[in-house]
């Protein structure tokens, strides 16, 4: 019998490790002056340096160092007074020099932490994720495998290489071993990546778009029998490209690994790839034969020795911490803990704040984003913020407040906006979703309902108020849901002699 997630975490204790790669949004690449603009024609943003031509030499982008130090400071790290680049040597066609200039044993930021909040059975609880290191490196080029059935390298007829991405500055943020999460490992992982994304966004150092790959997460996970105090063999899941996937990848790996362990099989130390559709991971390259990257200090670059006064200047420019901001907004909006955590974990804080800033009522803004919009986003398996803008949501809310829309109609408007039918006003016009509040039109419908259900009408007249529901329902049906239900109820009861 195979274990499901709940059964798995009753037997096994998960241990996490998260590696997040972030593309910095500097104008030029890490070691040359080529543009980092996304989407250029292949190989148009290259030069001798990022193509690794013989004789070319790297020069560090000062802005990238500044961004990395900012990240380190925001993550409570120590900034190393002396750090170095190192070469990570391995062969791959999309890597121009066949080594990646990275940092190894002397990273620029070390020993930080990030506090997150997770919803538990006992309410919202804080959890501290310790950060091992933050270091700089360069991105590789991209391979496009043409022909063959899978689009993967095996079976392809030929491959094309685009080096526009080669040399784009990357920052890698690596946690220490994250233990003690128990069954909340998926929530911790997601809350951490969410919080990290919010911090990076607030620093303005990266676009942090997981779907476009400017933020990528590798999830390391191992299991050990509860209480054993051991660390199991870990797998490293790559290709985890959304917050939701982070959570699903952890769940998927816990279930997969627990079932292997349950069956007496061993866990293979390997790279796995997350499958968006199934939520499962697929085996990639085995790391049993640990690849030897032959790291050594990059002789073409001088050590990074940031001035301590400069570090303090940067520290002074740090924006309000997302956690501080959350506490402030929570107080301003008077939101319960649990709902606040949901907002944050769903990545909706910014859009809700924006919606409220435009003038929407805080409670309604929250409930629209967290409710209807999130539901539609879940159905489509996309990020809610990509579906509709804060100003559109604010507009819908204001139309409800003015009585021009009912909640039910508003849901249809939102659906229309998401379907690309235009702005809320356009959707209303196009779909004819105006609230029917004209007494004459409603009275006609009410009369028709009474005529078709005389017995029910009689019971209401006799004082059985709840029975009016059936009549109201008939009116709503007749008006295609566009009637204001409260108004219908008022008119109906009055007509049947039950109005106040």
């Amino acid at each position: 019998m195979s274990l499901n997630y709940d059964q798995a975490v009753e037997k096994y204790e998960p241990t996490l490790g998260l590696e997040v790669h972030v593309e910095l949004n500097t104008k030029s690449k890490m070691f040359c002056s080529c543009s980092t603009e996304f989407g250029g024609a292949p190989n148009t943003q290259t030069c001798p340096v990022c193509l690794g031509l013989p004789g070319a030499l790297p020069v560090v982008n000062g802005k990238a160092i500044e961004s990395t130090i900012l990240i380190g400071l925001a993550l409570n790290c120590s900034i190393a007074p002396f750090s170095r680049f190192a070469r990570k040597n391995y062969f791959y066609p999309d890597m121009p020099k066949n080594f990646q200039t990275s940092q190894y044993d002397e990273p620029i930021c070390v020993n930080g932490y990030l506090d997150v909040e997770i919803e538990t059975d006992e309410g919202v609880k804080p959890f501290r994720v310790e950060i091992e290191r933050v270091h700089m490196e360069e991105d590789t080029g991209k391979s496009l495998h043409v022909g063959g059935a899978t689009g993967r390298i095996h079976g392809a007829d030929y491959s094309l290489l685009d080096y526009n991405r080669a040399g784009i500055p990357l920052v890698e943020i690596v946690t220490k071993i994250v233990g003690g999460t128990g069954k909340y490992a998926p929530q911790v992982a997601r809350a951490y990546v969410t919080e990290l994304r919010d911090i990076l966004r607030s620093l303005g150092v990266s676009d942090v778009k997981m779907e476009q790959g400017s933020m990528r997460c590798d999830v390391n996970l191992s299991l050990a029998p509860i209480g054993s105090g051991e660390l199991g063999t870990r797998s490293e899941t790559k290709n985890v490209n959304s917050l939701r996937s982070v959570e699903r990848a952890v769940i998927g790996e816990v279930v997969r690994q627990s079932n292997r362990l349950q069956d007496g099989e061993r866990i293979v130390q390997e790279t796995r790839h997350f499958q968006e559709e199934s939520g499962q991971t697929r085996s990639g390259r085995s790391k049993e034969q640990a690849e030897d990257y032959r790291y050594f200090p990059e002789p073409d670059l001088v050590p990074v020795v940031p001035d301590s006064a400069w570090i303090e200047e940067l520290r002074a420019t740090l924006p309000e911490k997302p956690s501080t901001r959350r506490a402030r907004l929570q107080a301003e909006w008077s939101v319960p803990d649990k709902e606040m955590t949901s907002l944050v974990n769903a990545g909706l804080l910014d859009v809700v704040e924006e919606t409220i800033t435009i003038g929407a009522d805080p409670t309604r803004a929250r409930s629209w984003w967290l409710g209807e919009v999130s539901r539609l986003a879940n159905e489509r398996e996309v990020d809610p913020t990509t579906l509709i803008t804060p100003s559109q949501v604010a507009e819908v809310i204001s139309l409800i407040a003015s009585g021009d829309l009912t909640d039910k109609l508003a849901r249809q408007v939102v659906e229309g906006v998401i379907a690309g039918e235009g702005t809320p006003v356009e959707v209303i016009a196009e779909r004819g979703l105006k609230v029917v509040s004209d007494d004459g039109a409603l009275m006609t419908a009410i009369a028709a309902a009474i005529a078709s259900q005389p017995d029910t009408a009689e019971r209401v007249r006799g004082g059985n108020i709840p029975a009016a529901g059936a009549l109201i329902g008939a009116v709503m049906k007749a008006t295609g849901g566009q009637a204001d239900a409260a108004k219908v109820r008022e008119l109906l009861l009055k007509h049947l002699g039950q109005g106040e």
């Binding site: 001798p48 193509l51 690794g52 031509l53 013989p54 004789g55 070319a56 030499l57 790297p58 020069v59 560090v60 070469r87 040597n89 062969f91 066609p93 121009p96 020099k97 066949n98 080594f99 491959s159 290489l161 640990a290 030897d292 032959r294 790291y295 050594f296 002789p299 073409d300 670059l301 001088v302």
Partner: protein, 489 residues
């Protein structure tokens, strides 16, 4: 030559054509050049002549021809590093050294032969044939920059550029009776110098006199923002120093460890004649000891191969150079393997394997790590020595030029050629070799090495210029006058 150009006695075009004529005459015997850019050189010469005629102010070396070691990228000109791997590759950019040469109006005649990827001490490791020493065509011209030095000795070019990772400028200068200088590491930009060992490589001037070398040194030196390791400080005034001709009161440190076992007797006796000349000129000799020098060679043969194993990884057939076995069925990895198998020569492969091993996990500390420690100790030895002396001196190479093929089966014997030059690279300081006579036993040139503290390159030029003047008056003319005249075709 510069004076003749300035006075209008000759033109750059005439000078350039004369050198091509000499190349035409003797290069079949010497084989110093891999590529001649006659069209480009003559156009550049004509340009300088036109500028001179119109009265534009020109740099001192404008219009003088030069031979460029094939390890430096020159836009549009084949650049092979003496390797089959880069056959046919024409760089789309100029190295900083080449940009500076062009800006100074120096006429680049062509590219000179070298040991493949600058790995060797004899130019026998070139994929394009050996270069012969103009003093004796059966002997090696040194390496890796044998082509550049041989071109000078054979009067095929008055100036040349070399690169020196462990002695590749100085040792060829020594065995061809010419002058070669390895500037302080970071003194000359490495941008466009195809890397062998990044932390050791340094381009420098090759010439027939110390002053010529100084003039060329000032053209190519200086900070370059495209090379992070280039030093952001004023270039030492080496031309002024070379003209001083005065060493009175200077302390010359004679390195005890670089004159004993393994040094040919004729080399030592000429070296001592050089010392005598310096003493006669008013310098004071002090003996200095650098005990760590005994480990320099071993440490070098860990660091240089380690860095080369990584630097040469980029030659994978994907973007430039040759590609072997791409028949549509083989994978990229298979084509890479075949190309590297065919494209690299045995010495390059030997060093890649050595370096790959030295950097491997589990061996790193014992090999690469220990070698870096030796490097730190070497620097300490040099610092202590420079506390006692203004410059240090030694013979440049333990022997005169050996016969072609003599060390074919003994890489270690070959490596020993660089025993006196390697410590300079390891410490990043400056080193010069100038001729100090012909060894009695074989009549071949002997090199005298002067080492100066980092960024005090002027000191070695001062001592070198003085020594050269003293020896010239003793000999009654340049040493190269004693070289056999090549018959030509």
């Amino acid at each position: 030559m510069a004076a003749a150009l300035a006075s209008g006695e000759t033109t750059s075009v005439e000078l350039t054509e004369a050198h091509y004529a000499q190349i035409e005459k003797v290069d079949a015997q010497v084989h110093a050049f891999l590529y001649l850019d006659k069209e480009g050189a003559l156009a550049q010469a004509a340009d300088v002549d036109a500028k001179r005629k119109s009265g534009v102010e020109l740099s001192p070396l404008a219009g003088i021809p030069l031979a460029l070691k094939d390890v430096l990228a020159q836009k549009g000109i084949p650049t092979t590093c003496g390797s089959k791997m880069l056959e046919g590759w024409r760089p789309p950019y100029d190295s900083t050294v080449v940009s500076k040469l062009k800006a100074a109006g120096i006429v680049i005649l062509g590219k000179t032969n070298m040991d493949e990827f600058a790995m060797g001490s004899s130019t026998e490791n070139s994929a394009y044939g050996v270069t012969h020493n103009p003093w004796d065509l059966t002997r090696i011209p040194g390496g890796s920059g044998g082509g550049s030095s041989a071109a000078l000795a054979a009067f095929e070019a008055p100036l040349a550029i070399g690169t020196d990772t462990g002695g590749s400028i100085r040792q060829p200068a020594a065995v061809t009776g010419t002058v070669g200088v390895k500037p302080t590491y970071g003194g000359v930009s490495r941008y466009g110098l195809i890397a062998f060992s990044s932390s050791l490589d340094q381009a420098g001037p090759c010439a027939r006199t110390v002053l010529d070398a100084a003039l060329l040194h000032e053209v190519i030196a200086g900070h370059d923002e495209r090379d992070s390791t280039s030093i952001d400080a004023p270039v030492p005034q080496v031309v002024k120093a070379a003209k001083k001709l005065d060493v009175k009161g200077m302390k010359i440190g004679v390195v005890k460890e670089l004159q004993g076992e393994g040094f040919q007797s004729g080399v030592l006796s000429k070296f001592h004649e050089g010392l005598d000349a310096l003493v006669a000129a008013g310098a004071e000799l002090v003996e200095v000891s650098c005990p760590t020098f005994d480990y320099a060679l071993a440490a070098y043969y860990l660091i240089a191969p380690s860095e080369c194993s990584s630097n040469l990884a980029r030659f994978d057939s994907m973007r430039y150079g040759i590609r072997i076995g791409d028949d549509g069925n083989r994978s990229a990895e298979e084509v890479m393997k075949l190309t590297r198998h065919e494209g690299f020569g045995p010495e390059v492969k030997r060093r890649i394997i050595l370096g790959t091993y030295a950097l491997s996990s589990g061996y790193y500390d014992a090999y690469y790590g220990s070698a870096q420690k030796v490097r730190t100790l070497l620097m300490r030895d040099f610092n202590a020595a420079f506390a006692q002396a203004d410059v240090l001196v030694s013979p440049t190479a333990p022997t005169t030029a050996f016969k072609i093929g003599a060390n074919d089966n003994d890489p270690l014997a070959m490596y020993l050629n660089d025993i006196a030059t390697i410590p300079v690279n390891m410490a990043g300081i400056g080193g010069m070799s100038l001729p100090c006579g012909l060894a009695e036993e074989d009549g071949l040139p002997v090199g005298f090495q002067i080492m100066s503290p980092a960024m005090r390159d002027d000191l070695m030029y001062q001592v070198g210029g003085t020594l050269e003047a003293a020896l010239l008056s003793k000999w009654g003319g340049p040493l190269l006058d004693k070289a056999p005249v090549l018959a030509g075709n």
